[in-house]
Amino acid sequence: MRAVLCRRYGPPDSLVLEDMPSPKPGRGEVVISMRAVGVSQANVLIVADNHPNKRALPFIPGGEAAGLIKEIGEGVTAFKPGDAVIGAGKDGGCAEEVLASVDRLYLLPEGMDFTQIVGAGSYATSLHALRDVARVKPGETVLILGAAGGVGLAAVDLAKQMGARVIACASSPEKLDLCRQYGADELINYDGEDLRGAIKKAGGDKGLDVVIDPVGGKYADPAVRGMGWGGRYVIIGFAGGFVPDLPLNLPLLKGCAVMGMSLHRLAQHDPQAAKALRADVIRLLAEGKIRPHICATYPLEHTADAMNDLRLRKVLGKVVVVAGGA
């Protein structure tokens, strides 16, 4: 079977496609014949060795894989060959065959589109951030940085459904237009204007109740300064390239909280919560309540192109890598 390998850290073009032996499922494991796999900015940063989640070389990049079970290991009773599933591999998902543990494997409803469920992966992050960490209430003002990205756009979609007033921040009119289509009430192009002033204005007298920040970098400071009393700022990642510092007098005067989360860490500390979250997203997609925006699909051999699109900030919503005629 073929797999994408990272043999040395660097830009996406340093990835190689190789023929490898098919993985053999051990006890409690299955092999998924991959049909679709998500790649994200985090994957790009991990390949560049510029992410808090370090991976030892060589490794297969990529996020969760969806596909059909090819083979099951000993002791596996809840799944059988031919089942449609999504799950996190032991390694990354950018391979024709993905070895996964049943602990983090989910059965998909009949007929669910593999590309769609992979594209909905960011909804788990945003749902957790909005519902469980920030606990958004109807009528609250939610500002979303990187709002046209995978996590950002999912956050726009979900925050609107929770009854919030949504302010979307992104770097181009095209990206902001997509945010508008997903229901954003106000748009801020942060590469074009005085961001601090624009955020302050959009927050009104009360200031922002919630900020969803998958970007960090230079946008964090003006966003923190836009917070209102009792606000919750949720750090989700650092796609902006650097990790900002927080001067502690800002949350003190605003009586607000700066919080953080990562699904990677959630799965380690609270596997039950991580599982429930995944089930929620599958249900929301099955019920047609969420609509992942997939801007491009690439075949496995063009995984580097998908990652380059992310690196060059060309992606709106999600890019998905596909195999086996998904």
Binding site: L246, L248, N249, L252, G255, H269
Partner: protein, 328 residues
């Protein structure tokens, strides 16, 4: 009646910074109660006020002191619920006087038998720490609470309240004497951060798990090692920067630990949520009355010796709280 007056800003340790003078007794406005003061609480912000270094500039002359205990002397026309003879505590500006007019909304009944000195000096510090631990951190029994600056006014209140709420309390302070006061207030573990590494000790004491809640009224170089000692789902309470510099914490820390860096500004809470804020103190008075909390009063000074009290505060000799008594 006698009152303490500051007529000119200047060094808080000079003996003539404040004077005691006879001034006309206050008359209650319709919504006010005049209290015959037994004891008044002073704290570090009063020291800053004397130097015009606090958040606002008081009009001169002014009377220091932000809380009091005493007996109701007279009530305004619209006041309900208080009558002459009632024992009360109150929060207001200008409490260091024999009689003080206080809006009824800033008074609480004091149950019989509660010590007037203890009652005069606890509500400010305890209100801050209670709001922090209860409304902000939602501290749970069995959780670990680490208190920085634990022998100061709000710090010692946090130690006492943490103990009362069933937490395991780790007190951090800079001398053996200060830590002894923390131990007496109910701290389970002690860290002397002049000689011990906060992070190393906190991780040892929690078996590598990290602490659930950190209470930080000091900031500066203590914040970062403390913040690195947070556990999963931890809450870091930012209360103040008494040690000087405003620290910065990397966004990576809350991201990795899923913890929250939470601002605690008690005054802002009182402005926005007067009802809840009032109820917090009502609960604290009830706890004081039955001995569930034990405020530490480190010095009791008669009104005429108030300069000595300010010197002790300015020189940071105070553990807990200082109270001024009128002899009434």
């Amino acid at each position: 009646m006698r009152a303490v007056l500051c007529k000119e800003f200047g060094p808080p340790t000079s003996a003539d910074r404040v004077t005691i003078e006879d001034i006309p007794a206050p008359v209650p406005k319709p919504d006010e109660v005049v209290v015959s003061v037994k004891a008044a609480g002073i704290s570090f912000p009063d020291v800053l006020l004397l130097q015009n270094k606090y958040q606002y500039t008081p009009a001169l002359p002014f009377t220091p002191g932000s809380e009091l205990s005493g007996i109701v002397k007279s009530v305004g026309m619209e006041v309900k619920g208080y009558k002459p003879g009632d024992a009360v505590i109150g929060k207001n500006k200008g409490c260091c006087a024999e009689e003080v007019a206080v809006p009824a909304s800033k008074l609480w009944h004091l149950p019989a038998g509660v010590d007037f000195n203890a009652a005069a000096g606890f509500s400010g510090n305890y209100a801050t720490s209670y709001y922090a631990l209860r409304q902000r951190a939602n501290l749970q029994p069995g959780e670990t609470l680490l208190v920085l600056g634990a022998s100061g006014g709000v710090g010692l209140a946090a130690v006492d309240l943490g103990r009362m709420m069933g937490a395991r309390v780790i007190a951090c302070a800079s001398t053996a004497a200060k830590l002894a006061a923390c131990k007496q207030a109910g701290a389970d573990e002690l860290i002397n951060y002049e000689i011990e590494d906060i992070h190393v000790r906190a991780m040892e004491l929690t078996g590598g798990k990290g602490v659930d809640v950190i209470y930080d009224p000091v900031g500066d170089r203590f914040a970062e090692p403390a913040a690195r000692s947070m556990g999963w789902n931890g809450r870091y309470l930012i209360v103040g920067f008494a040690a000087g510099a405003i620290p910065k914490i990397s966004f990576m820390l809350p991201f990795e630990k899923r913890c929250a860096l939470m601002g605690v500004w008690s005054g802002g809470y009182t402005q926005r949520f007067p009802r809840e804020s009032y109820d917090n103190i009502t609960e604290l008075v009830a706890m004081l009355a039955v001995g569930k909390i034990r405020p530490h009063i480190s010095g009791i000074y008669p009104l005429e010796n108030i300069s000595e009290a300010f010197r002790a505060l300015a020189n940071r000799e105070v553990i807990g709280k200082v109270v001024i008594t009128t002899g009434k």
